[in-house]
Symmetry: none
Subunit: 202 residues, 4 copies
């Protein structure tokens, strides 16, 4: 059975290799330019081989999305559930700092992850949309718990609404950093936390 196990491990390894290659293509060429051809070339595999590991392009794309999301989720969870005794404010600072880091210099990742939810009305990408919605829901639940831990009686709005505002502020600063007018300046997590927290508190 050890052979079988090794095989399985190797298979997982290959999948990771392919996803890594796909991420590189994504990073360099953007979502619209990802093609199975390029991924194969980058992974130093034949086109056909990709289909040994991923049913089709959509499934591969979804796995990329999922992987990035899992990575981000893990980081969020790590911060939220860390033992350190921190004020909510400090936690949010850390959280924002991490998110900014996560996307730093990875415009394409940011675009991809934020637009998976929105665009892509091509039939092919329906499942990606579902995946993105699911992630959004999960993220919501995580943040909800965080908010409930602290001053829960002092919020003016629901955790859902707080969460939407919170993420909106972060996202738009990143958009403006990547594409807009906020290029030169460093985004200060403290500012974002402050705007958000004072905005939603009674």
């Amino acid at each position: 059975m050890s052979t079988k196990e090794r095989r399985e491990r190797e298979k997982q390894q290959r999948k990771r290799t392919i996803i890594k290659a796909a991420l590189e293509v994504l990073r360099e060429d953007g979502f619209a330019r990802i093609s199975m051809d390029k991924i194969a070339e980058r992974a130093e595999l034949s086109k056909g081989a990709l289909y040994l590991y991923f049913e089709n392009k959509e499934k591969l794309i979804i796995e990329i999305f999922w992987m990035l999301m899992e990575k981000l989720k893990k980081k969020i969870k790590d911060i939220i559930s860390s033992d350190e005794k921190l004020e909510l404010e400090e936690k949010l600072n850390k959280l924002i700092g991490m998110v900014l880091d996560f996307y730093s210099n990875e415009v394409e990742f940011f675009v991809f992850m934020n637009n998976a939810l929105i665009g892509l009305s091509s039939d092919m990408m329906q499942e990606l949309k579902k995946t993105a919605v699911n992630f959004s829901i999960e993220l919501n639940e995580i943040m909800e718990k965080l908010f409930e831990e602290y001053n829960q009686d002092r919020y003016k709005y629901s955790t859902l609404e707080m969460n939407i505002a919170f993420r909106g502020i972060i996202k738009n600063f990143l958009v403006e950093k990547f594409f807009g007018v906020y290029k030169q300046e460093k985004i200060r997590p403290e500012m974002l936390t402050d705007i958000f927290l004072r905005g939603v508190m009674k």
Copy 2:
């Protein structure tokens, strides 16, 4: 000269016809499915004619983007520079209400504005980025004026930062309304104004 002018006017008219057609295609088929074929058909023009008015598809996309932006900008300006004597809070409420309206009946516009960034080639993104940056700058100037009119000494952050936060909150509520978890509820402009204003005030 009059002939030349008339020509020019006709040309602009044709361009608007094409853009309108493109927006209709966008609304019906989604961003990923806009094709020159369909636009031509919808505009009741030949495919070749499209290229008489727009250098290529990307330029056409940019003009659509620009047109939408201009439309939105005009509405923003109208509200801001209206004679009514209103509190800042009331003005923001009106502004947000208008933006929600603007996109509500035209989800695809919203998708388009967000997706213009991914759906196109990298070369294209450069141009679109410029367009978006320009718009952002303009919008900033408009908002700056608004903020300067009121309580200018009570803000904790720069008008640029305020603007980014403001738009981020609005945008993300729209995203979650159209595609995510905020489906059932109506977005209340007052809430968004409140979160924002209290967040950025000293």
Copy 3:
């Protein structure tokens, strides 16, 4: 409007050109080997151009099938409804002779037309199957009328059953001629008519 008409005529002409090219590919390479590439090459057109005239490969195949069928049907009708006063026996002789002629040296047509009904369980070809079934039904009706014209009270079996037997005998002689043991000999229509007619008569 004359321009439009001319255009339409030219379009039909092109369709014919493509079908003719496809028929040549069919004749030379067999059904399993028809590819859009080869048809395009043979028609001296680009691959893309084929799709200006036929929605997809299946539609093109169906038109080939239909065209061949129409040709055959016309020939059958011509014989059946000819003014000549002939005995049923003589009509059937003529009919069989024509069918043998129609397929002579066109193995691939024969194979294609006979197997369209049967095989091709690929999803893509469902419509072709329907087309083939419809043709079979039409052919039935035509033959039914013929049989009803003559000695209708002397048949032991239904016109449907007669028709099936009739076509079966002809088809299998062709099969054996093309692929089997009846290569050297010329198929004598009189023999087929005789076997059939005496077989089904009271």
Copy 4:
């Protein structure tokens, strides 16, 4: 030598396993969808192993064809050479009944037997043609013997021609039953025998 013999026996056993698997795939997925992948999976063998037993896919197909033919041939022989003292008519009834049975439960066999001709490359067809011709010749010899046993001086046509007509009638009733217009009705062997016998008798 005994080892060698055992080896050979095992090899034949494996071949049968593979053919059985292929037939299962055929039944489930249809002729157009048989792939070496699926056969291997169904046979619980590796794809590579298939090539140890069959030179290539075409050879495998031919062996299936051959195997089915042998099976059918055996059943035909059993009926013809059975000790029962039966009239020719009764024998033919039995024969037809058996053939109808043989295919009825296995529509896909019937499809396969008919489709082997189109589904494959031209090169392949040569081989398959040979196989089919050989089978046809054998079948002819078998039927010849049967016909010679009975009333041999009363036939109007050669045993070859009789055979072709006989099989044509049966085949076409099956085609129309499985795919065409003869769906609802049960095929009565007596009718087929009657049509045939009266058709070929002086």
